[in-house]
C-alpha cells in the first residue's frame, strides 16, 4: 500500500456513509459496537424463544409440546446461541464502544479487521440456525458436543463445526484487536494502572480468548475428522479416547466461563462507584484478583468431569484449585461492598442491576463451591442443580451486568435518557421472575432430577411448574427491556443531556459530548486527574 493510500485509510474527518453501506463497510468502533450489541439483542431473543420451548415442555410431566429429539436440539442450540451469540458479542460490543473512549484512542487499532470480526458472526449463526431446517435437525448432543453421541447425528454436524470455527475466528480477531488497542493506542499519561477496571478486565479476557479459542477449534476439528475422515481421536473402538475430548473441551470451557464473567466484573466496578459517589475500593487488588482468576481458570477444568473416574489425587487437586478461586472472587465482592459502604448511594436502574449482580452472582458462586466438592459433585453432577448454578452465574451475573451497562451508557450512546420508571420496573420484574425461574431448580437437582430430559417423574412436577411460570414471566419482561432501549434509541430527543450524564461518573468517555460524536479523540486528550477514576494510583 502506498503512503498516500495508508494516509487515506487512517483519515478521521469523514462522517458515516449513508444507508446500508454505513453498516456493511464501517470501520468506526462505535458503529461496530452498535452492530455487535444489536446482533446480541437479536440472538438473546432467539435463544430466549428456545428457552420458552424448553420450559413449555417441562411445564408438566409427560411429553406434550415437542418430540424428545427436538427438545434436545433446543437445549443444545439455546446454549450455543446464548453463549456465542448473545453474551460474548454483547461484551465485545461494549468493548468496541467503550475501550477506545476510555483510553483516549481515536478508534480500535485495526479497524478493518474489526469490521471483519463482526461480519463473520451473522454468517456463522445463519449457518448454525440453518441446521434446524435440515433433515437431520440441529445438533442435539448438548453444547459440549461430547463424542460419541455428537458423532451419531446427521450431516448437519459439519455445518455446526464450520459455524463454531467461524465464531472462533471472530472471537480471536476481536480479542487481538482489543489487546493491541489497549497496548498501543492509549493517550499519553494513561498508564496501565490508570485505566478503568472495565478496560483491565477486557484486556485479561482478551488474552484468555486468544489462548482458549484455538483449543476449542482444535477439539472440534478432531471431531470433524473423526466423523468424516476416518480418524479415531475420540473413538474407543479405533484406539481413541472419548474422555480426552472432555479434557480438551473443558480446558477451553472453563476459561470460557470467565470470558463471560470478567468483563461483567469490570462493568460493575464502573457502575458501583458512580452511584455510591466514592472511588472504587481496592483498585489495584481488583486488577490482581482479575488476573488471578484468569490464571486459575486454566488449572481447574477437570471439575466439570469428576465422575469420569480420575485418580483420587487428580480429584483432590482440581477440587482445591477450584476452591482457591473463591479467594480472588471474594476480594472482588468485598471490594464492591466496601465501595458502597457509607457512600451517598442512589438507586438508578444501572445501580439496581449492579447490586442485583453482586447479590445474585454470589449465590451462583456459592453453588459453584458446592459443586467443587468431589463427593458432593457425584450427587449433583448432571442434575438441575448444575443448571441452576450456571444460570445464576450467567443470567443474573453476565446478563445482568450487560443490562446494567446498557442502562448506564445508553444516554451517552443515544443522547436520550431512558425512562427511569420503566427501567426500575424492568429490574424488579426481572429480579422476581428470574428467581422464580432458577431458584427451584436447585431443589430439583438436589432431589435428583437429571438435566437435558424432556419428561420427568411426577415428584418433580411442582417445582417445574413454578420454574416454567417464572421463565415465561422473565421472557415477557425482556420485551419491556426491548421497548425501553428502542424508545431511547429512536425516540424524540426531549432534553439536552450533559457530557457527564451521571453526576458521580468518572472516566474519559464522560468528557466527550452527549451523544458521543462519530469520531472522538482525533487528537490525544490531555488527562486531568479530576476526570479519571483512578488518577491517584499511578503517576
Amino acid at each position: 500500500m502506498s503512503q498516500a493510500e495508508a494516509l487515506h485509510h487512517d483519515d478521521h474527518d469523514h462522517g458515516p456513509d449513508k444507508g446500508w453501506r454505513r453498516w456493511v463497510f464501517t470501520t468506526n468502533h462505535k458503529d461496530i459496537g452498535t452492530l455487535y450489541l444489536l446482533f446480541s439483542l437479536a440472538m438473546f431473543f432467539v435463544g430466549g424463544a428456545m428457552a420458552m420451548v424448553i420450559r413449555a415442555e417441562l411445564f408438566q410431566p409427560g411429553l406434550q409440546v415437542v418430540e424428545p429429539d427436538f427438545f434436545n436440539q433446543m437445549t443444545t442450540m439455546h446454549a450455543l446461541i446464548m453463549i456465542f451469540g448473545a453474551v460474548m458479542p454483547a461484551f465485545v460490543g461494549l468493548a468496541n464502544w467503550l475501550i477506545p473512549m476510555m483510553v483516549g484512542a481515536p478508534d480500535m487499532a485495526l479497524p478493518r479487521m474489526n469490521n471483519w470480526s463482526f461480519w463473520i458472526l451473522p454468517f456463522a449463526f445463519a449457518m448454525l440456525l440453518s441446521t434446524l431446517f435440515m433433515e437431520s435437525g440441529a445438533p442435539a448432543a448438548g453444547w459440549t458436543l461430547y463424542p460419541p453421541l455428537s458423532l451419531q447425528g446427521g450431516n448437519s454436524f459439519a455445518f455446526v463445526i464450520f459455524a463454531i470455527h467461524l465464531m472462533g475466528f471472530s472471537s480471536i480477531m476481536g480479542a487481538i484487536n482489543i489487546i493491541v488497542t489497549i497496548f498501543n493506542m492509549r493517550a499519553p499519561g494513561m498508564n496501565l494502572l490508570r485505566m478503568p477496571l472495565f478496560v483491565w478486565t477486557w484486556l485479561i479476557t482478551a488474552f484468555l480468548l486468544v489462548m482458549v479459542m484455538p483449543v476449542l477449534a482444535g477439539a472440534v476439528t478432531m471431531l470433524l475428522t473423526d466423523r468424516y475422515f476416518g480418524t479415531s481421536f475420540f473413538n474407543a473402538a479405533g484406539g481413541g479416547d472419548p474422555v480426552m475430548f472432555q479434557h480438551i473441551f473443558w480446558f477451553f470451557g472453563h476459561p470460557e466461563v470467565y470470558i463471560m464473567i470478567l468483563p461483567a466484573f469490570g462493568i460493575v466496578s464502573e457502575i458501583l462507584p458512580t452511584f455510591a459517589r466514592k472511588p472504587l475500593f481496592g483498585y489495584v487488588s481488583m486488577v490482581y484478583a482479575t488476573a488471578s482468576i484468569a490464571f486459575l481458570s486454566f488449572i481447574v477444568w477437570a471439575h466439570h468431569m469428576f465422575t469420569v473416574g480420575m485418580p483420587l489425587g487428580g480429584e483432590l487437586f482440581f477440587m482445591y484449585a477450584t476452591m482457591v478461586i473463591a479467594v480472588p472472587t471474594g476480594v472482588k465482592v468485598f471490594n464492591w461492598l466496601a465501595t458502597m459502604w457509607k457512600g451517598s448511594m442512589t438507586f438508578e436502574t444501572p445501580m439496581l442491576f449492579a447490586i442485583g449482580f453482586v447479590i445474585l452472582f454470589t449465590i451462583g458462586g456459592f453453588s459453584g463451591l458446592m459443586l467443587a466438592i468431589v463427593p458432593a459433585d457425584f450427587q449433583y453432577h448432571d442434575t438441575y442443580f448444575v443448571v441452576a448454578h450456571f444460570h445464576y452465574v450467567l443470567v443474573t451475573g453476565a446478563v445482568y451486568s450487560i443490562m446494567a451497562a446498557v442502562y448506564y451508557w445508553l444516554p451517552k450512546w443515544t443522547g436520550n435518557m431512558y425512562s427511569e420508571k420503566l427501567g426500575k420496573l424492568h429490574f424488579w420484574l426481572s429480579t422476581i421472575t428470574v428467581n422464580i425461574l432458577f431458584f427451584p431448580q436447585h431443589f430439583l437437582g438436589l432431589a435428583g432430577m437429571p438435566r437435558r430430559i424432556p419428561d420427568y417423574s411426577v415428584e418433580f412436577a411442582e417445582f417445574n411448574l413454578w420454574s416454567s411460570i417464572g421463565g415465561f414471566a422473565f421472557g415477557l419482561t425482556q420485551l419491556l427491556f426491548l421497548y425501553i432501549v428502542l424508545k431511547a434509541s429512536f425516540g424524540k430527543r426531549t432534553e439536552k443531556l450533559p457530557d457527564r450524564v451521571w453526576e458521580g461518573a468518572k472516566g474519559l468517555e464522560w468528557t466527550v459530548a452527549t451523544p458521543a460524536p462519530y469520531h472522538t479523540f482525533d487528537e490525544a486528550p490531555e488527562l486531568r486527574d479530576e476526570d479519571l477514576a483512578h488518577s491517584d494510583v499511578a503517576h
Binding site: 487512517d10 487481538i176 493491541v180 497496548f183 493506542m185 483449543v215 482444535g218 480418524t231 481421536f233 480426552m244
Partner: protein
C-alpha cells in the same frame, strides 16, 4: 476535507499490526499443538500417525 492521521497514530497502528501478527501466530501454534497432542494420544489410531 480529510486530515491525515498524525505520525504518532500511524506509528501506534504500525506497532499494533506487528503485535497482532504475533498474537495470530500464538493462536495458530496453540491450535496445532492441541491437535498434535490428540495425534500423540491416539497413537496409531490416526492414519499415518504414531
Amino acid at each position: 476535507m480529510s486530515s491525515p492521521a498524525s505520525p504518532r497514530e500511524q506509528e501506534q497502528r504500525g506497532r499494533a499490526r506487528r503485535m497482532a501478527v504475533g498474537l495470530v501466530a500464538v493462536a495458530m501454534l496453540i491450535y496445532v499443538a492441541f491437535i498434535a497432542s490428540g495425534v500423540l494420544s491416539a497413537q496409531g489410531s490416526v492414519p499415518g500417525a504414531g
